[in-house]
């Protein structure tokens, strides 16, 4: 039935079908008041239904080229577009190498690990690294940090920002001696100003915020990364209705994907771990279950290997599975200090 594909409420759809209108063309020539009388609904509702139907009909009839759909891009165009968007560096060379240069825009990356491995540190580092000016190879954008656990420490962010500026001046001093004039006027306070911080305390707030981000980002067009730390916290406890949880989570995942694609920004979701019984042994997997594991484009798992912190690419459409060591220092995320610099291929 054609009216089944209209985004209207179930009761309105039921009334349409009961009155005999099962195709879009059957009521398109009616006036809204006529339809309202037939369906016994208000004029406004009828006008809304007709608007939605005519929008769908218009889309149907619009000509695309060569059997393709409107709004589709060819793979060739997408390949060249990708080259235009630089990646967000993590300040650790090994980690950047296995990520193909850093965190990619237009994709949702999920990073998970045991408590204390450095997820929040990585989140703060990315929020600062996205602000590296274009001259220094960064994006020059702003960051949105959504904190669900309360683990964002401003003093730590200040420390990392100062270290980042130091690194940039060293780099600038080495490479561009003649650029002293336009030396970065960046001050740690400027960096902190460009991080938009939201604190959410319940899952409804989280979902409401993600719905609101669409409007927020249209007003602040230079936001280039959205970090959610952590996305699972409010969904893990006290949820009676598991089916509702699955629906909410998958709806949220789709909205985040849409944000990433429409505004060309990177979305980083930090997740916690749980144990799962696979193949006769208990293994650590990311929280929220099987359906959530399909809601990201890339997945990176952080784990301990002896005394070292390692990152492992678990899922990616274009990156090879590999792991790399990194360390958390007072300056933020940096290369691991150990001598073994080889990247292990899995």
């Amino acid at each position: 039935m054609e009216v089944g594909r209209l985004p209207i409420s179930a009761s309105q759809r039921g009334k349409l079908i009961a009155a005999g209108y099962t195709t879009l063309s059957s009521f398109s020539s009616l006036s809204p008041s006529h339809l309202a009388r037939d369906l016994k609904i208000s004029d406004n509702e009828a006008a809304e239904i007709m608007r939605v139907a005519s929008h769908s009909r218009r889309l149907d009839g619009s000509a695309g080229g060569c059997g393709t759909v409107n709004g589709a891009q060819t793979a060739w165009d997408m390949l060249h577009e990708e080259e235009m968007f630089p990646r967000i560096t993590t300040s650790c060379v090994d980690l950047d190498n296995i990520l193909g240069g850093g965190i990619n825009c237009k994709e949702v990356t999920e990073i998970g690990g045991v408590p204390g491995i450095g997820k929040t540190q990585l989140g703060i580092q990315l929020a600062i690294n996205v602000q590296i000016p274009v001259d220094y190879g960064g994006l020059g954008g702003k960051a949105i940090y959504i904190d669900t656990e309360g683990s964002f420490m401003v003093e730590r962010a200040l420390q990392i920002a100062e270290a980042c500026i130091e690194d940039m001046s060293e780099c600038g001093g080495l490479l561009r001696k003649d650029f002293q004039a336009c030396q970065l006027k960046m001050h740690p306070n400027n960096i902190l100003e460009n991080i938009f911080y939201f604190r959410v305390c319940s899952y409804t707030e989280q979902i409401a915020l993600i719905n609101y981000l669409d409007k927020f980002i249209s007003e602040h067009k230079d936001v280039k990364i959205v970090i959610v730390d952590s996305v699972t916290f409010h969904f893990r406890q006290d949820f009676d209705d598991m089916a509702l949880r699955t629906r909410l989570l998958s709806g949220m995942a789709l909205k985040l994907m849409k944000l990433a694609k429409d505004f060309s920004l990177a979305v980083v979701l930090l997740n916690q771990v749980t144990t799962k019984y696979i193949d006769g042994s208990f293994q650590l997997t990311l929280a929220l279950g099987d359906s959530w594991s399909h809601s990201c484009t890339n997945r990176v798992i952080l784990y301990w290997n002896g005394n070292e912190r390692y990152a492992y690419i678990d899922k990616s459409p274009s990156l090879r599975s590999a792991s790399a060591p990194y360390s958390v220092t007072s300056k933020g995320i940096r290369n691991s200090a150990s001598n073994c610099k080889r990247i292990k291929m899995m």
Binding site: V108, G289, M346
Partner: protein
Amino acid sequence: MAPLKSLEQDYPILDSNFQSFCASHDIFSVEDLLLHDLYVLAAFAEQESSSERLKRGITQVLSIIDGQHQPWLNGMELLEDVQRNKHVLSTGCDGIDLLLHGGLRVGQLTELVGPSSSGKTQVCLLAASNVAKKHIGSVVYLDTGNSFSPQRVTHFICQHSDPAIDQAEHRTLQKVMNNISCKSVFDIFTMFDVLHQLEFNLRSQMQGGDCKVQLLIVDSVSSMVTPILGGSGSQGHALMISAGYLLKKLAHEHNIAVLVTNHTVGGDGGISKPALGESWKSIPHVRLLLSRDHGGSICNVSILKHPSMVESFASLFTMCAIDLPLSLSLGFSITPFTPYGISFFFIHPF
């Protein structure tokens, strides 16, 4: 089917006289007419003054109804259609092709089920690049998870040489990649719009040539359906089934192979089962289960459902290595084995 009064514009014989006659018998829409006993209605029409017009009106409505269903086909016509139009598209991976007796069949809906990171998107990308490269046709890729990776497609197309070094290679690469169009869809209503648009375009364009769509990939249909499935109403269910039927209709009428991906959820006893439930199970023609050993690069493919293969014998395993930048390759040996007079092939790797 519309109420009778809205048909008056297109069919002037169904005028207000006819409508009031029908209304006196409680018939307001075409559906009501179908439910009514037509002989009795005709007998009543005889007694009216304008009986000829009324009977012509009834015949008109019946012919409108007749125009709504698909034409009848006999077995010979079906066989001719299959032999002429419904050929097989190779997926690019020899193992999967062997399992499917050639590859993805045009006119059928093939589903890839598997847990996260088991290679579903990779198979979709490989099939897309293979169809664009080898067959004269284009590919439409609907992506819900921003996982369409043009670099990976480039790897698959230019396997033996460095991309973009040779001028001629560059031009072929461009031509092949222009055959793949990708659109991001993030909810099921957008997907409906896109599919209806595609149907309209396919119906109105001339067939043949480079522009003909051969393969439609939806990756993944489960992430679009999961937010609306369940809950208090059954609208989500209805939308899922309509989407499935629309995909199958596109496949059959316009000679396209459709490939969709689905994920797994935990079932009873901790064994994972495909998502989307029991009603979705009957919609795809072919269901393949993919799985990958934890941390390994070897994937297993097995058949869950196939219209012409017996699946109790089909824990047929085929191994393909997914390794950048090499293409998918396979090592296997075949022994024919004939129990109970049914012949099938048992494939195992060496």
